[in-house]
Structures are given as structure tokens and as C-alpha cells.
């Protein structure tokens, strides 16, 4: 026994389990879409931060040189500053052909530096040191981690290897990093990490006011990804993306509820006739929405977490060092926000259907005459069409055109999916290309530069080429402006090859050898991370979009079961019926995807304008994405009629026609 009319909501939901599931799927997809986008963005932000730290080799936000005790105190007692450390450079000590420069850092400064570490750990006391690995042979032959060595009269224990930076190799000045506890006032630089929660711009302005601008170094790249909201362009992109998704969600849910209300007009009329007030009817519908939301939101969130886990798994498969890619990050704030957005969208978008249900006339329950008038069919004059095209096609065209609202709602899901696909794929392309074009260095493993002053015609570059090619481990050599790019066969033997080159070419010509292997490895890794992100994201978006299209088209056919049975009863063949419905789906697919392509291109241009503030790029129509969208929309529309069609074909004509 029910005790309140409100329980009618759950009865209706249980009573029509098929429609309930379709609506649930719609909401699940929406919440999954929103939270996946949120978690994706958070995840890519985190991996970007990680990348930038790795590429730069350090993680401090601001550095100040030429400081005095007053500045140091201001930094020390500033609550907006999370941590600061001191670091200084010492003498450059010659070691044969090359030299090493002493670097001193205190404990807190060292905390900013582990990203430069290739192997081992950072020095913890005055007797430990880390050096660039390419300098090892110059310091001492066969020097290994854990060995002791002497430089400048001091004995250090080698505890860590630093990554081989291009500039250290070109200048032939390696780095030797060691610990120093006490710094003299004004010695070296202050390295600063600003509190995550602080307003970076304010703090940086404050720091700049302490001293001359040229004394302040700001790690712009890192700050840009740490605090994306302080950047107008990124903010614009975020707002656009989130609004598309929220609008899409609202439309999907509105669609589902409007259909479920229209299907039950007679029921609501009946409730009204036995004395339900408008408010009570509204409550029943809104309650259905709330119940669905409460069930669907957790499922949707689990789905989006699963999608992320799948992505992390792909990273695991693709990357050798996947442990370092902390992409899978469940941010409760984002999950909470997406739940709230979806719940709000569900309630807001079910309000109109609820309002509509409340206004249904009680007479509707009694006289079936009224229900026929519920849709006004547009009359058309295109008689030419009838003669030239087949009967199923002309009927399909009439069906599609006769009700503007239903048509709009059905193709809206296709439009939104297309827009999402096109904008996101072009957005990703922009992000992707801007980062990884013109990256010449990745094309070679080792590069040999002839030292300036010796670049004249007397150098027989052909002979050098031949010499390099004759080396065992070299697979490819190319020459450009007195430098030679070498691709190696076995990258693990790079140091031996470097020694070989020194002995063969180095003895005849003054050269510098730059080992790009470590840098390239990091770049390739970050490139791969971005690629997996981009494609993973596009796959998720397309999947959600497809299910959405299938959902809407299925609903649009199921609610017309009675009408289709009537067509069969007056003698339309099974084959013609099938043709008609497939034509309808294709018409939806074509017009939806064309409009989607149009709006998608416009939006991707708007996004491009927003982004071009950051990076200068060319915008072109994303032809490939447009073509994929068009083909996929047709295919999915076709697929999505097959299941309801099979059911309709099995229907007993008389049962369906007599169904209430």
C-alpha cells in the first residue's frame, strides 16, 4: 500500500523499466562526460606539471639573485611562500678538455632539483656530489656511483648523476652539485616556491617590488600549468568546453523527460481528473527526475573512473616508465562538482516537462479526441517529391518534417556529439602541434659541432661523414651547417660511441659532442603522454556521443510503435517499413552531422582565437574530423535503428494498436 502520492514516481519508474533505463543511460552518460572531462583536465594538468618539471630539471617558481638580508627576511616571513632555498655557483674547475662548475645548494633548494637527477640521489652533505654523467670520464676513468673522487682539492663521494643538458655539453662546462649548509648573505640565488593556494600574480608582483626586475627569474612555463585560471585564454577555453557539455547534458535529460511525459499525458490527465493538483503532478515528475539522478550519478562517476583507469592502463602498456606518469588521479572536488552540475541540470531540465505535465487538461483522460491534437502536423506542398522518390523515402521525409520539435530534439544529440568531437579533436591538435613542431633536436641522438673559428672550406666534411659512418654503432649521419647529426643503432652504447668519435674525428678537428639521448627520451615520453591523452579523450567523447545518438533514436522510434503498427495494419510491407525507418535515421544522421560540422568548425575557430593569444598558429578547417563525423553519424544512426526495428517487426499489430 502506498502512503503518499509521491510514491507514484517510483511506481512509474518501475512500471516502465525500459524507458527508465534509457533515461538512466542518458543521465549516466552526462555525468560521466562531465566528470571525465574534469578528471581528464586535472590529470593532464598534473602530467603537464610533471613534464615541465622534468624538462626543465627544477620545480621552483621564482628565483632572486643579488638579494640582501632584508629581502631574505621578507621571503622568510611571507605566509604566501611555501618554501624557499638558497643555491649558488662556485668556481669553474678545468678538467683537461672540459671543465666543471661547482654548484652549491642548501637542503630546501635541493628539494627543487630532483627532476634533474638521472640516477642515484642528490647530495645530503658536504662530502657528497652529483655530476653530469657526460663529465664522468674526464673526472676519473671508470668512475661509478658510490666511488669517491677529487676535484679542486676536495674529496667527494659520487651519489648522483645529472641529466645531460644540451648547454652543458655545448659549452663543455659540466655541473657538479653539492650540499652547502650556510650561505653568506647575498650569496647565490633564493629559489622560491609559492603557496599553491596563493594568488600567484600578487605574490610575484610583491617579489618584484623587492628588487630590480632583472634580478628576478620567473618560471613562467610551470606557473602557466599550475595556475591555468590566471590565464584568460585558458579560462575562455574552459568556459566554452564546460558550457557545451552542460548544455548537452541539459538537452539530453530534457529530451528524455519530455518524451516520458508526452507518453503518459493520459495518465496525468486522469490523475488531474480525480483531483491531483498541478503541483502534485509536477512533484511526481520532478521526483522521478531526482530518483533517476540519485541512481545515475554514482554509476556515471564509476564509469568515468573506469575510463580513466583504462587510460592509465594504456599508459602502462605504452610507456616504459609509466610509474612516473601519475595520470590516474581521482579528485573528489571534481567528482563533487560534476555531480552537482548534473543534479542541477537534471532538475532544471525536468522542470519544463514537469510544468507541462501539470498543465495537461484532465479532459485528456476522458476523451481520446484530444490526444490526436497533441501534435500539429505541418502540411507540405512538395508534390514533385512524391513522384520522383520511392514511397518509403517520401513517407520518411514527411515523418521527419512533420514535427519540428521532435526533429530538433533528435538531431540535437547528433549535433552535440559532432560538435564535441570536432572541437575537441581540433583543440587537441592545436595543443599538440604547438608543443611539438620545430623540435629539431629530437631528430638526432648525438650531434657533433665543429667549434667556431674552424668552420671553413679547409674542413673536408665528406671525410668526416665517411669516418662517422664507419663507426660500428652509427646507423645514420647527416650534415648541416658544420654539424653532424647521428642516429645510433644501440642507444645504450652511446658513451662508448662518444669516446670513439673523440678518438677518430676529435683528434683531427676541434669538435663538441652533444648527447641528446636523455633529453630526447623525456621529450618523447611527454609527447606520448599527450598523444595517449588526446586519443583516449577523443575515444571517450566519441563513445559517449554514439551512445547518446543511439539512445535518442531508439526513443524516437519506440514512442511511435503504435503509429508504425497502424501502417503495417493498412498493408505496408515489413520491407518498406524497414526502409522507411532506415531512411529516417539516415536523414537524421545527415542533417544532424552537417549542422554539427558547421557549428563544430565555428566553435573550433572560436577556441583557436582564444588559444592564439598563447601560441601563434594557423587555423584550417579540420577536414579529417569533419569527414569522420559525417561517416560515423550515418553509421551510428543506421546502427541505432536496427535494435528497435527488430522489436517492432516482432510486435503483434493488434496488440500494439489496442495498447493504451
Amino acid at each position: 500500500m502506498i502512503s503518499s502520492y509521491k510514491q507514484l514516481s517510483s511506481r512509474y519508474l518501475k512500471g516502465n523499466i525500459k524507458r527508465t533505463i534509457l533515461t538512466l543511460v542518458g543521465i549516466v552518460l552526462s555525468v560521466a562526460l562531465i566528470s571525465t572531462i574534469g578528471l581528464f583536465m586535472k590529470g593532464s594538468q598534473l602530467s603537464q606539471i610533471d613534464n615541465i618539471k622534468k624538462l626543465n630539471g627544477f620545480s621552483f617558481h621564482v628565483g632572486i639573485s643579488n638579494y640582501d638580508e632584508a629581502i631574505l627576511n621578507k621571503i622568510r616571513y611571507n605566509p604566501q611562500i611555501a618554501s624557499y632555498g638558497l643555491m649558488s655557483q662556485g668556481k669553474t674547475i678545468p678538467l683537461g678538455d672540459v671543465s666543471v662548475q661547482m654548484n652549491f645548494a642548501d637542503q630546501r633548494a635541493l628539494a627543487f632539483l630532483p627532476y634533474s637527477l638521472l640516477d642515484g640521489h642528490l647530495p645530503a652533505n658536504e662530502h657528497e656530489a652529483a655530476v653530469d654523467s657526460w663529465t664522468l670520464p674526464y673526472i676519473h676513468k671508470n668512475l661509478k656511483l658510490g666511488d669517491s673522487f677529487q676535484v679542486n682539492g676536495e674529496t667527494y663521494k659520487l651519489v648522483g648523476l645529472l641529466d645531460n643538458r644540451e648547454y652543458t655539453q655545448k659549452s663543455k662546462v659540466g655541473r657538479l652539485l653539492t650540499y652547502k649548509r650556510d650561505f653568506a648573505s647575498g650569496e647565490g640565488r633564493i629559489l622560491i616556491e609559492i603557496n599553491q593556494k596563493a594568488n600567484f600574480n600578487e605574490v610575484i608582483d610583491e617579489i618584484k617590488s623587492f628588487t630590480e626586475n632583472e634580478n628576478v627569474v620567473i618560471n613562467e612555463e610551470l606557473i602557466r600549468v599550475l595556475k591555468p585560471q590566471s590565464n584568460r585564454s585558458i579560462l575562455a577555453v574552459l568556459v566554452i568546453v564546460i558550457s557545451i557539455v552542460v548544455v548537452a547534458t541539459a538537452v539530453v535529460i530534457y529530451n528524455a523527460f519530455q518524451i516520458s511525459v508526452v507518453e503518459r499525458m493520459k495518465q496525468f490527465g486522469l490523475l488531474r481528473s480525480i483531483g491531483a493538483t498541478r503541483k502534485q503532478i509536477r512533484h511526481i515528475v520532478m521526483r522521478e527526475a531526482a530518483v533517476l539522478a540519485v541512481i545515475a550519478i554514482p554509476i556515471g562517476i564509476v564509469c568515468s573512473i573506469l575510463a580513466l583507469a583504462a587510460l592509465q592502463f594504456i599508459f602502462f602498456l605504452v610507456l616504459e616508465t609509466s610509474a612516473r606518469v601519475s595520470f590516474f588521479h581521482i579528485d573528489w572536488q571534481i567528482i563533487l562538482i560534476s555531480s552537482i552540475i548534473t543534479l542541477t541540470a537534471v532538475l532544471v531540465s525536468s522542470y519544463y516537462p514537469a510544468f507541462f505535465a501539470g498543465r495537461i487538461s484532465p479532459l485528456l483522460a476522458i476523451s481520446s479526441r484530444l490526444s490526436i491534437r497533441k501534435e500539429s502536423i505541418k502540411k507540405q506542398k512538395n508534390t514533385v517529391l512524391k513522384k520522383t522518390v520511392s514511397f518509403p523515402l517520401s513517407l520518411a521525409l514527411k515523418n521527419v518534417k512533420r514535427n519540428k520539435n521532435r526533429y530538433t530534439i533528435t538531431i540535437l544529440s547528433i549535433i552535440i556529439s559532432s560538435v564535441l568531437f570536432i572541437t575537441f579533436s581540433s583543440l587537441m591538435n592545436i595543443a599538440f602541434e604547438s608543443k611539438y613542431v620545430n623540435n629539431e633536436s629530437t631528430k638526432s641522438d648525438l650531434t657533433i659541432h665543429l667549434i667556431e673559428g674552424h668552420r671553413d672550406s679547409s674542413v673536408d666534411s665528406k671525410a668526416i661523414l665517411e669516418q662517422l659512418k664507419s663507426l660500428g654503432n652509427v646507423s645514420e649521419v647527416s650534415e648541416q651547417d658544420f654539424s653532424f647529426r647521428i642516429k645510433l643503432k644501440d642507444v645504450n652504447q652511446s658513451s662508448a660511441t662518444v669516446a670513439d668519435i673523440q678518438q677518430t674525428v676529435g683528434t683531427k678537428h676541434p669538435i663538441t659532442i652533444v648527447n641528446y639521448l636523455d633529453e630526447n627520451k623525456k621529450k618523447k615520453e611527454s609527447e606520448l603522454v599527450i598523444k595517449v591523452l588526446v586519443y583516449g579523450f577523443i575515444v571517450v567523447i566519441s563513445l559517449i556521443g554514439s551512445v547518446n545518438i543511439i539512445n535518442t533514436i531508439t526513443i524516437s522510434i519506440i514512442i511511435r510503435r503504435k503509429e508504425l503498427a497502424a501502417l503495417k495494419s493498412i498493408g505496408m510491407s515489413q520491407k518498406d517499413l524497414k526502409k522507411m525507418i532506415i531512411y529516417e535515421a539516415l536523414i537524421y544522421g545527415v542533417s544532424g552531422s552537417l549542422q554539427g560540422i558547421f557549428f563544430g568548425c565555428i566553435l573550433s575557430y572560436i577556441l583557436y582565437v582564444a588559444v592564439s593569444g598563447i601560441k601563434k598558429l594557423e587555423w584550417t578547417i579540420p577536414y579529417a574530423a569533419c569527414f569522420i563525423t559525417f561517416a560515423a553519424a550515418l553509421f551510428i544512426s543506421y546502427l541505432s535503428v536496427l535494435i528497435p526495428l527488430r522489436k517492432i517487426q516482432q510486435d503483434n499489430i493488434i496488440d500494439v494498436i489496442r495498447e493504451e
Partner: protein, 234 residues
């Protein structure tokens, strides 16, 4: 016989649909009075306006002009909300197509008007109705599991649950066979007497009409005859 109490009064009720050329007058100034405990049949051909009359009596459809009094109150001065509450408490509807809520079982369907009122359901009274209607065995069945006659009995039960003064029935037997028709009509008469209710019933069936206290014939939106059948006055 007690005093004659007027339950329903219609004064010059006009109902028209559409505007200008396409204007159709469904009711052309109906004036009518019905007393408590009366069993009134309304007859007329399709499109004569009898259903519109019934809807206006029950507060389902607002008249274009004129007044409808139920008891002391002119019901079309009510707001939409008050009108809903009026329907729920004072009127019981019985429709040709039963119009039960498919997701509720028999006793829930019967109790629905009380539930809509956020009132506690009087279980003794509910059981009494169910017993009178002969639905004891079917209490927890869904409408889809019942025959037409049983469904119509459920809708009679629903019309009775709030003890309304007025029961309005729009061809309640139109969808039933002869045996069920007789059973349903006997039930209606029985309960009306038991709870001292007024019944207004639309019918095509002359045998049903002739068994009522009063027969009103409507043609083209006007009352053309209003007969009291003295023989049936008990």
C-alpha cells in the same frame, strides 16, 4: 422522505469552442437543478453536448459563461488548485475506459483520491468498499490482471472512497457485456443508496436510463426534455 436538498444547480451555462467562423457551441445556455439522492440519466446522440455537460458539472472544464453551484459554492470561482481539491473530495468520476493507474494495484487505485489528499486511508472503509465490490480476492492485483468488469468495479470504488456527494459517470457500462453491465449498475444503485449519493450518468442504453429517477435528453447543446420517472421513486 426527508427534505429536498438541492445538490447541483447550473445557471445558463454556455460552452463554446473556437472563435469566429469556426466557433462551435457545445452547450447553449443550460439551466438545471439536481437534488440530493437523485439518480439522473443524461441521454442524447453523439455530439449533442452531454459529455461537455458532465465535465462542467465535475469541475473538469470551465464554462464559457454561466454559473455552476455545488451545494452553496459557485465552483468556477475556484482557483485551479481549489478546483482540483474540490474534484478530489466532492466528486467521484467513473469513466467508460476505467482509467485506472496501471502501476498501482486494486486497493491503491481505490485509495488514490485519499492519498492525493495526504490523508490516512481509512482501512475499514476501504475493506468495506472492496467487499461490496466483490474484489476481496483481487486486492493486490494490477489493473492489467483484471477483466473489464472488474476494472470498472475498481473505478467505482475509487469514486466512493472520499464519500463524495456527487458521482458522475460517463457511459460506465459502454465497454461491458450484458452480464457485467447489470452487475455494475446494481452496484452503483446499491452504493448510492447506502451512502446517500447523487448520481449523474450518461448513457446510450435505454434500459439503464429507464431505471433511473429522472431522464434528461440533450440535443444540439440544449435540454429538450426533462422527465421524472415516478415509478422508480422508492
Amino acid at each position: 422522505m426527508g427534505d429536498i436538498v438541492e445538490v447541483v444547480r447550473m445557471e445558463n451555462v454556455v460552452k463554446s469552442y473556437g472563435e469566429g467562423n469556426s466557433r462551435v457551441d457545445a452547450l447553449k445556455g443550460i439551466t438545471l437543478s439536481i437534488q440530493q439522492g437523485e439518480f439522473v440519466s443524461i441521454v442524447g446522440v453523439s455530439g449533442s453536448g452531454k459529455s461537455t455537460l458532465l465535465h462542467i458539472l465535475g469541475g473538469l472544464d470551465r464554462p464559457t459563461s454561466g454559473q455552476v453551484f455545488i451545494g452553496e459554492n459557485s465552483i468556477y470561482n475556484y482557483s485551479d488548485n481549489e478546483l482540483s481539491i474540490f474534484r478530489r473530495r466532492k466528486v467521484g468520476f467513473i469513466f467508460q475506459f476505467f482509467n485506472l493507474i496501471p502501476v498501482l494495484n486494486v486497493q491503491e487505485n481505490i485509495a488514490l483520491p485519499t492519498i492525493l489528499d495526504n490523508e490516512q486511508v481509512d482501512m475499514t472503509y476501504l475493506d468495506e468498499i472492496i467487499e461490496t465490490l466483490g474484489l476481496q480476492e483481487r486486492k493486490t492485483h494490477l489493473p492489467s490482471e483484471l477483466s473489464g468488469g472488474q476494472q470498472q468495479r475498481v473505478s467505482i470504488g475509487r469514486a466512493l472512497i472520499n464519500r463524495p456527494h456527487l458521482i458522475l459517470a460517463d457511459e460506465p457500462t459502454g465497454n461491458l457485456d450484458t452480464k457485467n453491465t447489470k452487475e455494475v449498475m446494481d452496484l452503483l444503485r446499491l452504493t448510492a443508496k447506502k451512502y446517500n449519493q447523487t448520481i449523474v450518468l450518461i448513457t446510450h442504453d435505454l434500459s439503464i436510463a429507464s431505471a433511473s429517477d429522472r431522464v434528461i435528453t440533450i440535443e444540439d447543446g440544449s435540454i429538450i426534455s426533462d422527465q421524472r420517472l415516478a415509478a422508480n421513486k422508492a
